[in-house]
């Protein structure tokens, strides 16, 4: 089945006014395959990851598992670093969201681990209206990379987005499904 494109996200301030909308990745296995295929992905953690519970865990617990599963470097924006340090994880980079997007635009940039530009950028926990603006920047000015917004509120300006997921259990299932499916493509 052909995936749909996203027009109306959860937050109406993020409605797409344009022609180029995200492909909706409803099946987490499809999402895992996108991540698996990436050569040099980057994962951006926004402040919601340390403030939002998902079931009896925090969103960051899931996001860290996704990053660890494929050894994806993490950019801890806002004040996420503090919580990560408490959990014994040192982020690869601590640019704030707009700064990292500014660097991602530049294909010549060395990337957070010095391996050259990132071809896939994952986003979780960035304030939804700000994330949408940053995704629009990358959509228009970074043709060398793809973005995947792992956010239940959905993001039309990303290349890949989730459908709107209202129920928390479904959101947890999506995250767990993604973690479970990662690595399948490569192995």
């Amino acid at each position: 089945m052909e995936s749909e494109t996203m027009v109306m996200p959860y937050y109406k301030v993020n409605v797409l006014t344009g022609t180029k909308a995200a492909k909706v990745i409803a099946d987490p296995a499809e999402g895992a395959a996108i991540i698996d295929r990436a050569k040099n992905p980057l994962y951006i953690f926004g402040p919601e990851v340390i403030a939002t519970p998902v079931g009896d865990k925090l969103l960051i617990d899931y996001a860290l598992k996704i990053a660890k599963a494929r050894d994806i470097p993490i950019c801890a924006t806002a004040h996420v670093k503090k919580k990560m340090l408490e959990q014994g994880v040192v982020p690869d980079s601590t640019y704030d969201i707009i700064e990292i997007i500014h660097f991602l635009k530049d294909k010549e940039w060395s990337g957070v681990r010095g391996k050259g530009y990132h071809d896939l950028v994952l986003f979780t926990g960035v304030r939804c209206d700000l994330a949408e603006r940053g995704l629009a920047t990358l959509k228009h000015f970074a043709p060398h990379l793809k973005t995947y917004a792992i956010c239940r509120r959905s993001h039309p300006n990303a290349d890949f987005a989730l459908p709107v997921i209202v129920k928390e259990e479904k959101w947890r299932d999506y995250l767990a499904g993604l973690i479970g499916a990662l690595g399948a493509f490569k192995s």
């Binding site: 959860y10 937050y11 109406k12 301030v13 797409l16 006014t17 344009g18 022609t19 180029k20 926004g46 402040p47 924006t77 806002a78 004040h79 670093k81 503090k82 990560m84 340090l85 408490e86 980079s93 601590t94 704030d96 969201i97 707009i98 700064e99 997007i101 500014h102 635009k105 530049d106 940039w109 960035v126 304030r127 939804c128 209206d129 700000l130 603006r133 940053g134 629009a136 920047t137 959509k139 228009h140 000015f141 043709p143 209202v166």
Partner: protein, 766 residues
């Protein structure tokens, strides 16, 4: 034509006045500062975040600008964003300019164009912006009108450039937006000086009175007039009418937005109800007997809100007529009868007539409206919320601040108002949630039962910074031993709690920054009390000095903080400012650690102010909603070219030091804003002891709110002497790991000489 223009300029600025020689750029036109702009843009590239994939400006469109596509006219996506930025900056400049024009014309009519400008014994450099930009030392109200005429003249060319098929390059659009921003500052300064002179507002005094702030400050037993907007001409006429009729103590005058600032500068008994975000909330509470609108940032459905609350409503500005009948020429008694008997709303452009109608209507209406001034109780609130199960979430989806409205309302249904109270602290009062609610729950009214009704103390706006204050702090600011001058300006579109502003201001004041505030930000900063019940205005000094909290006043008073930066170059460093824009801006960029913050940006005026500040060399930090302005200015940080000229040797030097790091950026949370503001105050001119003090602030704040050491210290430590003693071991170990190399410390850094300009390098040295 140039000759004719030169002669005209000489006459306008009285070139023969010998206060300073006329510099290279008197009354610059669109292209005269273009080289300076491009020099800034080389280091600080525009960053665009398009709102829309399309352009729909002309009838060729809509044009799809995604990928490498161009519009039918040939424009690309970056230039289209830049054009939009210019259009919005022009709106902002026009709003301030027209405000200034109205204020000045009104005062000239009352006091004559020869009314002298006298800002008191402490302020000799009365108009640093107008002096620098135009080369004019304004002496009278008539001279201030010349400043507005200059703004008007330039604006027609700028607006023209936005037409389809005109300007076609994003850098030139940005240069023009800078021009609009700089003109905005000219207008701000002219408008505020005019009202200080014309109304005798405070000047040459730091310790202005503390005034009451908050919706709870309004005495509900008295007739209540609420003035909304930014132009206090009518509000001041209301005060005059009350005073001359012995009614001053019997009637409440409260303001929303900047008119509140300016009316409390005029009359200490007036009250500040709150910023823009509280307009709808307050008007729905029904406490106003008469609602008065002037101009700018007034919610557009005020006539309906007033009607629903049973209040009278008078519009007083030709900018906002609401389709109302213009009663300016009608007789007062006749208008009053129609207001009281037919509940008619009017436009009245004669301030004195409007004032009489407004006061008399309030006196008549108040006794009849007592029942309408009852606030919603918790029991009533629970009933209003009864139908909400919290599951449809339509309210959440439309909230522009992404708030969990459904949670607040559904808990209120059970009589628990705690969540709704929290929500209220973050609410912008847009009423989108009410509009979307499938059960038509009046959510903003419901908030009456959840909101705090406290009264706070705010120091009323003090206007210009004194020359003697500049002499005192000039040296420590330029050496870096005062870690920075921060201005919190602009609107109340805050991403989080309204009292985050007070937190940010206090974190900086206790680190000995000079903290200044204006507009809605100055109001929000009052909305937090410590354990002893004190606001930051009661806890910190009001003088412009290390560790102060200074409210300069309304939006137009922002001019005084930019003015203070210019005065440091002019009074403290002794550089001539007359028609010397580049010289002043170069000094500020390299040596004055100033940073502007708009934590709750929404208006085009705030965009114009911020864009103008960048042209002056003052970096701007925005809250997340600022991303919707869709343009920022950012450097490549350590990968950029940071070569400047050493004024002493006239040699080019690669400083390898990204300061100031960015010229306009958005930060997501208050924690990140704090460390970013501190960092944006670093300057190339900092002495090693000064840099050590700044780094101490940076590291301490970073450890407090983000954790660990900042991972860019290697960019800002130039010599080991700059490492703060308390962190020495830790930082040395970090630097070793990061492969740090010492960097040159210049005592006269300048970018004059790194681009083509009429300003000689010698001019930067006194």
């Amino acid at each position: 034509m140039q000759k004719m223009r030169d002669a005209e300029i000489k006459a306008i600025i009285r070139a023969e006045d010998a206060w300073e020689p006329v510099g290279p750029t008197p009354m610059p036109t669109l292209t005269e500062l273009r080289n300076w702009d491009f020099r800034l843009l080389n280091t600080y590239e525009p960053f665009y975040a398009p709102f829309c994939d399309l352009c729909c400006l002309c009838t060729y469109g809509k044009c799809d600008l995604t990928g490498n596509k161009k519009g039918a006219c040939g424009i690309d996506i970056a230039s289209q964003q830049a054009r939009w930025i210019l259009i919005c900056s022009l709106m902002g400049t026009a709003a301030h300019g027209a405000h200034g024009r109205h204020m000045i014309d009104h005062l000239i009519e009352k006091l004559g164009e020869d009314k002298k400008i006298d800002l008191g014994s402490q302020v000799n450099v009365e108009a640093p912006i107008i002096r620098t930009v135009m080369g004019l030392k304004p002496k009278t109200l008539g001279d201030l009108r010349k400043a507005i005429e200059y703004v008007e003249r330039e604006m027609i060319h700028l607006v023209s450039a936005t037409h389809m098929g005109q300007e076609g390059d994003y850098r030139d659009f940005e240069s023009k937006a800078f021009h609009a921003g700089m003109l905005d500052h000219v207008a701000l300064e002219a408008a505020d000086i005019a009202q200080i002179v014309g109304y005798g507002l405070p000047t040459s005094v730091a310790d202005t009175p503390l005034v009451d702030l908050g919706w709870g400050a309004i005495d509900r037993t008295k007739p209540t007039i609420v003035v909304v907007g930014h132009n206090a001409v009518t509000a001041n006429a209301i005060i005059d009418y009350l005073r001359s009729n012995d009614l001053y103590d019997q009637v409440e005058v409260g303001g929303l937005c900047c008119t509140a600032h300016d009316v409390t500068r005029y009359a200490g008994g007036a009250k500040v109800i709150g910023p823009l975000s509280r307009q709808r909330f307050f008007l729905k509470a029904g406490l106003a007997d008469v609602v008065v609108t002037d101009e700018q940032c007034v919610v557009t459905d005020i006539p309906q809100l007033a009607k629903a609350a049973g209040a009278a409503m008078i519009a007083c500005s030709d900018k906002i007529c609401y389709g109302l009948e213009n009663a300016s020429a009608r007789e007062t008694g006749e208008i009053l009868r129609a207001v009281l008997e037919e509940q008619k709303q009017f436009l009245i452009l004669d301030p004195e007539k409007a004032a009489e109608v407004i006061v008399r209507a309030a006196l008549e209406l108040a006794p009849k409206r007592r029942a309408q001034k009852q606030l919603v109780t918790k029991e009533e609130g629970a009933m209003l919320a009864a139908k909400c199960r919290g599951t449809c979430e339509e309210c959440n989806r439309v909230c522009p601040n992404l708030l969990p409205v459904s949670l607040g309302v559904s808990q209120a249904r059970h009589g628990n108002f705690a969540k709704l109270g929290e929500l209220f602290m973050r609410c912008h009062g847009c009423a989108k949630c009410e509009e979307a609610c499938v059960n038509h729950i009046p959510i903003l009214r419901l908030m009456q039962a959840a909101a705090t009704w406290e009264t706070y103390k705010m120091r009323s706006g003090r206007g210009p910074i004194h020359d003697v204050e500049i002499r005192k702090v000039g040296s420590p600011i330029v050496l870096g031993t005062i870690p920075g001058v921060v201005l919190f300006a602009g609107c109340s579109n805050f991403p989080g709690d309204i009292d985050d502003l007070a937190w940010l201001a206090e974190e900086l004041a206790r680190r000995k920054f000079i903290v200044t505030l204006s507009g809605c930000a100055a109001m929000a900063a009052a909305m937090s009390k410590d354990a002893e019940g004190k606001t930051i205005y009661e806890k910190y000094i009001p003088e412009f000095d290390a560790g102060c909290i200074v409210n300069v006043g309304s939006c137009v008073s922002n001019a005084h903080v930019v003015g203070a930066a210019i005065k440091i170059a002019n009074i403290f460093a002794g550089l001539p400012n007359r028609a010397n824009f580049e010289l002043m801006s170069d000094y500020i960029l390299n040596r004055v650690g100033a940073c502007g913050v708009v934590w709750g940006p929404y208006s085009q005026k705030a965009l114009a102010i911020g864009t103008g500040a960048v042209r002056w060399g003052i970096p701007i930090v925005l809250g997340p909603h600022g991303s919707k302005y869709r343009r920022l200015f950012m450097s490549k940080k350590e990968a950029g070219d940071w070569t400047v000229v050493d004024g002493r040797t006239r040699q080019l030097v690669d400083t390898a030091e990204p300061t100031p790091e960015h010229m306009m950026l958005v930060t997501e949370t208050k924690e990140r804003a704090l460390v970013t503001i501190i960092k944006q105050c670093f300057r190339r001119n900092d002495t090693p002891p000064g840099r050590a003090i700044k780094l101490n602030s940076y590291i301490s704040a970073y450890k407090q709110v983000i954790g660990g050491l900042p991972d860019d210290l290697q960019n800002f430590i130039r010599t080991e002497k700059e490492i703060p003693i308390v962190y020495k071991r830790e930082v040395l170990a970090y630097l070793k790991e990061a492969g740090w190399q010492p960097k040159p410390v210049l005592s006269l850094p300048t970018i004059i000489g790194t681009y083509e300009t009429k300003v000689p390098i010698e001019a930067t040295i006194k």
